[in-house]
């Protein structure tokens, strides 16, 4: 039976507005509501559909602590059988590079045939961890796919881009990240949600040297983007209004 791992992550609900700490160098995350990364939902749904179609052993993998295990429980509720919480040796913030090192260490031991992940996490939108993992493991990989078919020893994926699409055939083992539209993620049924709460989660302690996980940069300052919407009413005479608009655009362009 094919063995599939799904990478999942808890991210702040994009509807909630994060604040910035007093020193202006980090985001205050304590008050935020965390949810399963929406792109991961597509990966989970794809995995569960593969299980329903061909039979598969599914494991969700997440890096972190309590919040990460919430993501695993969301994955359980949607139909994933097992969960592995990957614990980093340091409790510091990690870059995509560090996260990939930790997750790759765990996945190397689990030796899946297929790794699925969302195309990016909507917190920092790094969109790199999955691809880095594939490189660490030497897996073939395809990003942002919206169609997926598994065969005996390979899989066919379809990637849509502006103006066309490409179909790729990847040998297994492989890693694929999912794009919106690949499926309609299920709303979990309540019995599964309740059972997910008590499902055991395996832990994997990463033994990589701490130095290799370091962030590699320092944040100087953070500012909240200002989605300023200005409203200006122009002259309702078409000619005069158009001239005004042109002026405004010109100013905007020059400034």
């Amino acid at each position: 039976m094919i063995k599939i791992c799904v990478l999942v992550k808890s991210v702040p609900d994009t509807a909630s507005m994060p604040g910035i700490s007093e020193d202006g160098r980090s985001v205050v995350v304590e008050d935020l509501d965390y949810v399963l990364n929406p792109f991961d939902e597509y990966a989970i749904e794809a995995a569960v559909q593969l299980k329903e179609l061909h039979g598969a052993e599914l494991t969700a993998v997440s890096l972190g602590g309590e919040r990460a295990s919430q993501a695993l429980r969301s994955a359980f509720a949607m139909g994933i059988n097992n969960g592995v919480l990957v614990r980093a040796p340091v409790a510091t913030e990690m870059s995509g590079r560090g996260a990939a090192v930790c997750l790759a260490a765990a996945l190397r031991e689990m030796a899946p045939d297929l790794i699925l992940a969302g195309k990016q996490a909507v917190d920092d939108d790094g969109a790199q961890v999955a691809e880095r993992i594939a490189e660490h493991l030497g897996f073939a990989h395809a990003s942002a796919v919206n169609h997926l078919e598994v065969k005996e020893t390979s899989l066919t994926v379809k990637r849509v881009f502006e103006g066309g699409y490409m179909v790729l055939e990847l040998p297994l083992p492989a890693l694929v990240t999912t794009e919106k539209g690949i499926n309609e993620p299920r709303y979990p049924a309540l019995p599964q949600i309740l059972k997910a709460r008590r499902k055991p989660i395996d832990e994997f302690m990463v033994s990589e040297p701490v130095a290799s996980l370091a962030l590699g940069w320092e944040v100087e300052s953070l500012t909240v983007p200002c989605p300023e919407r200005r409203r200006q009413l122009l002259d309702d005479n078409v000619a005069a209004g158009t001239a005004q608009l042109a002026d405004l655009l010109r100013q905007e362009f020059l400034s």
Binding site: D13, A15, S16, M17, D33, V35, E184, R186, Y187, P188, A189, L190, P191, I193, L194, K195, R197, R198, R229, R230, R231, Q232, L233
Partner: protein, 692 residues
């Protein structure tokens, strides 16, 4: 001479009569037992429905005697009343015979006998007339909503036969032995006149034949009760006696404490409460519910009647395959059809008009619960609404912290002296159109000098839609959040601009320990006007009409306060044909607000057409869902008819409009301090000024 009639003519045959009666009783008991056994497949105990039983008993008797439940609709009801009253008299007559004959009580003699004879004859005629009327409806007029199975006609004929043989029997007896008081049995006397001249021997043998015929037919009628639609004689009064008046107002909570549970809601007969199964058998197929159902009137496939009948057929072990248009993929699909199930607006029109008190709405919610909670199968657009409520406490999924009512509405912390808590509901906060109502109402409160506060980010959606869409788990989560926030506020008096919140706060939160006293803003505004805290102004609108929100009129019983307010804003208040408790749904209840309209015609379209037929320029309402659904409906009809909340109309009447501020239909002006814009207050103000 004793004034009575000969009794015991055939007493030498009584052994046979009693034997037959015993056989009939056995068949009757067996039939009833089978029915009760199938109800017992459901869950729940009898005790749940027996509290206040004396009150239930009195209500039932009043229902039966007055037929008040039948008379609510324009449906014919008199023929049924005559049948009920007639057979009640026949039963009394037969009882009197037995008491006199077997116990020598004077129950069938003297003046009482004369009166009884007259009444029996009179009602025999009336019952025959009723059978004629019923037959005319069933066989000639054949109304679409009336269910008709062959045994229904059999029952009608049987009733007629019992009455006709009774009258003939009486006539033959009088012909044999006329008495001075025989005229007190006018029908029998008439038959006797026709038989004048027949020889005694013939009369004797005809009498014997008729006696047996009448006996056998009567016993047959009794035996038929549990096996035909006549079973409603038992099941319908039982349904009325055991009904839960608050079934739809306060839906039964589900228990989620068992984390190993595999199923929630109703996914099989066995999951239903026994009363739902009894209800299915109590239905006579009269079709009042179907006629009144707004979804049915809009051409959708939902028929509350069909749901009950299908359930009854399933209970009897019949397969329903082929009976429905869609191939059933679930229990709900088999009972009502899944698409139909999602069309219910929980408006309770069906329940109001059901003569036997069937709890239709909670039956539908029971089945929605299974689809949502156990199977997670529901129209896909609901996922957004559910997710929004789960994560952000509102069906749109707007950030509740960001959108908190900071611009204009006083928070509790800023208004420690607040006498009321304003509960605008999530539509009254997030929906720009509905928010105008909150603004108008706050302006009125301010004018009246009422100190009030809102909970803002601490409160969330009341959960009405989640609960009625079947997502009980989500509802309980929302309810507990709100109850905690309300308890903390310490304010007992809540005023809400949403009738759905009103119902949930008053009737459903007590199930989870939240005891609050919420009033609707129309009720509160009337209070302010009556207490002279708001000064009346001369009415300005020419003609206006009030559309009753279902959750205000039918759920909360408030029909007077909105009309009081309407009278203060218009010189010419008009009524729609369907108004008050009899109002017609806008289509937004029961979570329909969050479902896409897939049908060609929506419930709102039907209502809008009814309104357009009345030719008014202003329609007042008092519910954010009605406001939205009717406004959208009017747009689809390209109509200029204005839909507004009563608070807006009153505010316009009492608060002078700022010149140039808005287009005159926007309610109170910015300077009243409650103007709201989702993006930026200042720039919008500038924009308006420039336009002015």
């Amino acid at each position: 001479m004793d004034v009575t009639r000969p009794l015991g003519t055939y007493s030498h045959f009584y052994w046979l009569m009693y034997l037959l009666a015993a056989a009939v009783l056995v068949a009757f008991a067996l039939g009833v037992w089978l029915r009760i056994r199938r109800w017992r497949r459901g869950v729940g105990t009898l005790q749940e429905r027996l509290h206040f039983w004396p009150r239930r008993g009195i209500d039932l008797i009043v229902d039966l005697v007055s037929h008040r439940r039948f008379r609510r609709a324009t449906h014919p009801w008199l023929f049924h009343a005559l049948l009920v009253w007639g057979f009640a008299i026949f039963f009394v007559g037969t009882l009197c015979v037995m008491l006199q004959e077997n116990f020598s009580l004077p129950t069938f003699s003297g003046q009482w006998y004369l009166a009884l004879s007259l009444a029996l004859d009179l009602f025999a005629v009336l019952v025959l007339g009723a059978v004629f009327a019923a037959g005319w409806r069933r066989w000639i007029r054949k109304p679409e909503e009336l269910s008709d199975v062959p045994s229904d006609s059999f029952v009608l004929v049987l009733i007629a036969a019992v009455v006709v043989t009774g009258l003939l029997l009486e006539g033959v007896r009088i012909a044999q032995e006329p008495r001075p008081w025989s005229l007190w049995s006018p029908m029998g006397y008439g038959v006797a006149m026709l038989l004048a001249g027949t020889d005694l021997q013939t009369l004797l043998s005809v009498h014997r034949g008729l006696w047996w015929g009448h006996l056998l037919l009567s016993l047959g009628l009794i035996a038929a009760i549990p096996f035909t639609r006549l079973f409603h004689l038992l099941a319908s009064p039982a349904a009325l006696f055991l009904k839960d008046e608050t079934a739809a107002k306060a839906l039964v909570p589900l228990d989620f404490s068992d984390e190993e549970a595999e199923s929630f809601g109703v996914g099989s007969i066995e999951d239903f409460h026994w009363k739902r199964l009894l209800d299915a058998d109590a239905c006579t197929g009269c079709g009042r519910c179907q006629v009144q159902c707004p979804a049915w009137q809009a051409g959708k496939s939902l028929s509350p009647k069909a749901a009950g009948e299908n359930l009854s057929a399933l209970l009897a072990g019949h397969s329903l395959n082929g009976n429905l248009n869609e191939s059933p993929v679930s229990f709900a699909g088999e009972v009502v059809g899944e698409e139909a199930l999602w069309s219910c607006t929980t408006c309770r029109a069906c329940e109001l008009y059901c003569p036997v008190g069937i709890e239709h709405v909670s039956r539908f919610v029971d089945m929605r619960r299974f689809l949502v909670l156990t199977e997670a199968r529901f129209p896909v657009e609901l996922q957004t609404a559910f997710r929004g409520m789960e994560r952000q406490g509102n069906p749109w999924g707007f950030d509740y912290k960001e959108k908190a009512l900071k611009d204009g509405f006083p928070a509790l912390a800023d208004e420690p002296q607040a006498e009321i808590l304003l509960w605008p509901g999530c539509t009254g906060i997030y929906d720009p159109r509905c928010r105008q109502v909150t603004i108008a109402f706050s302006a009125l409160l301010k004018l009246a000098g009422v100190r009030f506060a809102v909970l803002g980010a601490e409160s969330c959606c009341c959960g009405d839609a989640a609960r009625r869409l079947g997502n009980e788990y989500l509802f309980q989560d929302l309810a507990l959040r709100n109850i905690a926030a309300l308890d903390k506020s310490g304010l007992q008096r809540i005023v809400t601009t949403c009738p759905h919140c009103l119902n949930t706060l008053n009737n459903e939160y007590p199930q989870f320990g939240g005891r609050f006293r919420a009033v609707h803003h129309t009720t509160y505004l009337r209070e302010l006007l009556n207490d002279k805290r708001l000064e009346m102004a001369p009415p300005e609108l020419s003609e206006a009409v009030f559309h009753d929100p279902c959750y205000l009129a039918r759920y909360a019983g408030e029909v007077a306060a909105p009309r009081f307010l309407l009278d203060t804003v218009t010189r010419n208040p008009v009524e729609l044909e369907k108004h008050g408790e009899d109002g017609f749904c806008c289509g937004g209840g029961g979570g329909r607000m969050w479902l896409e309209e897939k049908a060609e015609k929506s419930v709102a379209d039907v209502r809008v057409d009814q309104i357009l037929n009345t030719a008014v320029s202003t329609v007042a309402t008092a519910c954010p869902f009605c406001l939205t659904m009717l406004s959208d409906g009017m747009k689809r009809r390209d109509s200029e008819v204005r839909i507004a909340d009563l608070a807006e109309l009153l505010a316009e009447n009492l608060i002078p409009l700022e010149k140039g501020g808005g287009d005159g239909k926007q309610g109170p002006s910015i300077d009243h301090g409650f103007y709201y814009d989702s993006d930026c207050k200042e720039e919008r103000t500038q924009g308006n000024r420039r336009r002015g």
